[in-house]
């Protein structure tokens, strides 16, 4: 689903440049639940931005759904994002003057789907994440967990190939974190590829595969040993 070969990325800083990603190789298959671990500055956000087509890479190859990503202009990138990717952000990034339902329906608007159809689909997804009854509320009237559920519903609404979650639990307390991770797991069980970026061990432990990043290189890539009823939250 996502295949990265010898990926390099550097940012210009003053006269020099900061080499953030130093030749990453990563292959994520369809249906995997992967987390990228790393402290701040390890390059994990940069990786997500490149995978999410929000940023360009310098050298190396990136295949999304078997398609080589190169020479993307903004229009093509927008179409690919809309079609293949669903984003979940740490700060939720909901549009604050739109109701939960409208927020979820927004990606469908950019697909050119009519209002009625859009709201019907959006409502299905709100139901799926368990907050159908909050559909008409504005983000300011929702709790953190509810906001993230709206954001997840929004990421799922276009039926993407990959859900990219950037610190999805970073702004949530541990109980809410658990329920959000359960939701992501459930989505993964239904066959969705989920790609989580986090610096929390607990969150990473919930996923099936942990890729550790340090100073722009992958230092480890291992499957998580599944324990039944594993409770590791404090």
């Amino acid at each position: 689903m996502i295949k990265i070969e010898k990926l390099h990325k550097s940012y210009p800083i003053g006269k020099g440049s900061l080499h953030v990603l130093k030749g990453l190789d990563l292959h994520i298959k369809e249906g995997e639940f992967v987390s990228i671990m790393g402290s701040s500055g390890s390059g994990k956000s940069t990786l997500l931005n490149i995978v999410g087509l929000l940023d360009n890479h310098d050298t190396g190859n990136y295949y999304l759904n078997g398609q080589l990503i190169e020479n993307l202009d903004e229009k093509k990138a927008a179409i690919l994002r809309n079609k293949f990717l669903g984003f979940v952000f740490q700060s939720f990034n909901l549009i604050n003057y739109k109701s939960a339902l409208e927020n979820v329906a927004l990606p469908l608007y950019y697909q050119g789907i009519g209002r009625k159809e859009r709201n019907k689909i959006a409502l299905q997804y709100l139901d799926k994440v368990g907050i159908k009854d909050r559909a008409e509320h504005l983000p300011s009237e929702l709790s953190g967990g509810e906001k993230q559920r709206v954001a997840i519903a929004r990421a799922l609404v276009t039926n993407p190939k990959v859900v990219l979650a950037d610190e999805p639990t970073g702004a949530l307390d541990s109980a809410t974190t658990h329920s959000v991770m359960e939701l992501l797991k459930e989505i993964n069980r239904e066959g969705m590829t989920v790609f989580v970026i986090t610096h929390e061990e607990d969150v990473a432990a919930e996923t099936d595969r942990i890729v550790r990043l340090k100073d722009g290189i992958i230092i480890s890539d291992e499957k998580v040993q599944k324990k039944s009823n594993r409770i590791s939250y404090v």
């Binding site: 903004e74 984003f87 209002r115």
Partner: protein
């Protein structure tokens, strides 16, 4: 694009964006509204002043010149300077024959006379006139008719009086037509009454008009002419006609060709041209001020949208992460700009129209209005509205470009 314009969602987006910034939207709208409001009101007022001038001069054919005889100021062909000159009927024939491009040449005789009706009397200006006077100086008849050719041929003792004279010589509500008044002890039948024009000639007391031939006979004027009114055909320069007529008259009356005092004249066309020039200048100024204000208003909209876009950077970033194409973001902002300018423009035109109506009611009424029919032509309004929409689109391009030039990742990073 068409689908985009008629899509409920499009307008929903604009509505929510406007609702989010009520105060700012209102201030912006007022900016543009003020511009077009000024344009409409100034143009309307200028038009009103122009109409007023037209109404003042409207009684006269505007390409007219009045000519009369004075005294010579240079000796010529054995005559001393200071010779009194009098226009003759034969001069008129020569003028008509020699000078091209004349519409009318109307001779007039003038005197003061005592007019009496029963016990009421007054001194008024008496004029001997031809029916053609009505062509050169439109008579606004209230009752009856003006002098006709039959009156001229039969030298009838009839008169046309001004409303002012009726007020002085008649009791209220008495029908003057058909009654007789005495002018210098001769009875004249009143055949018509007219309303005073804006430019009166003769005494302030009012004028009485009798047939030219009757005047000649009664006052024993022979072939003399007091003065004449000459109008040129359209396309002929009245100033040239004035010069030609005077030169011809000098020739006929054996006056030195360079004697400028022998014949007096008043060129109405020239006087009107001065006023028209002033009005054109005023209209130019109006357009200049109006359009400048309009542009300032449109720039205010552009500025506000730019700030809005800056504030909405994050939102725009989210939308783009969700798959909004740059053009979709752009057109939304441009439409917002056009929508705001159009609303503001319409409000400005409506309020301008209302103010013009108020001006019309307060300043445009009465006998001596300051303005007449202050109006703005529909095409001008349409042009102004179209200009607004075009300017709105152009100015919207700037914030729209800013909105998509920020990369979504940078926009999302913004807190």
């Amino acid at each position: 694009m068409i689908k985009f314009l008629f899509d409920t969602d499009t307008w929903q987006e604009i509505y929510s964006s406007i609702r989010k910034n009520k105060t700012r939207t209102a201030i912006t709208i007022i900016g543009v509204m003020w511009g077009i409001f000024l344009l409409v009101v100034l143009l309307g007022a200028a038009k009103g002043v122009e109409n007023n001038f037209n109404r003042l001069f409207g009684d006269f054919a505007t390409n007219s010149v009045f000519v009369w005889a004075q005294q010579t100021s240079k000796p010529f062909k054995g005559f001393q300077e200071g010779k009194s000159l009098t226009l003759k009927m034969s001069d008129l024939e020569s003028i008509k024959k020699e000078i091209p491009g004349l519409e009318f040449v109307v001779p007039r005789l003038q005197d003061q006379a005592l007019a009496v009706n029963d016990f009421k009397s007054g001194r008024f200006g008496v004029f001997g006139d031809y029916p053609e006077l009505d062509e050169v100086q439109k008579m606004d008849m209230v009752y009856g008719r003006f002098i006709n050719h039959n009156d001229i041929i039969e030298k009838k003792k009839v008169c046309v009086i001004e409303e002012e004279i009726y007020k002085q010589l008649f009791d209220k509500d008495v029908q003057p037509i058909g009654t007789y008044i005495k002018i210098n002890n001769i009875n004249y039948k009143v055949i018509g009454m007219y309303k005073k024009g804006q430019i009166g000639s003769g005494g302030p007391q009012g004028n009485i008009h009798i047939p030219f031939t009757t005047f000649q006979q009664v006052y024993n004027r022979g072939e003399d002419v007091g003065w004449m009114m000459i109008t040129g055909k359209p396309g002929f320069d009245i100033t040239q006609i004035e010069a030609d007529v005077k030169l011809l008259l000098k020739n006929l009356h054996k006056v030195h060709p360079e004697d400028d005092r022998a014949f007096g004249s008043f060129n109405l066309g020239k006087e009107i041209a001065k006023v028209t020039g002033f009005l054109t200048g005023m209209q130019f100024l109006t357009w200049f001020v109006g359009i400048a204000t309009l542009i300032a208003g449109v720039f205010a909209i552009g500025n506000i949208l730019l700030i809005t876009v800056k504030e909405r950077t994050k939102e725009i970033g989210i939308r783009r992460a969700l798959g909004a194409k740059p053009w979709e973001i752009k057109r939304q902002i441009i439409l917002e700009s056009v929508f705001l300018t159009s609303i503001a423009g319409s409000l400005g035109i409506i309020s301008g129209g209302i103010v013009l109506m108020i001006i019309d009611v307060t300043l445009g009424k009465g006998d001596e209005p300051a303005l007449t029919n202050p109006t703005v032509d529909i095409p001008i309004i349409l042009i102004a509205a179209a200009t607004l929409v075009i300017l709105g689109t152009l100015i919207g391009l700037i914030p729209a470009h800013t909105a998509v030039s920020i990369r979504p990742i940078e926009a999302l990073r913004e807190e």
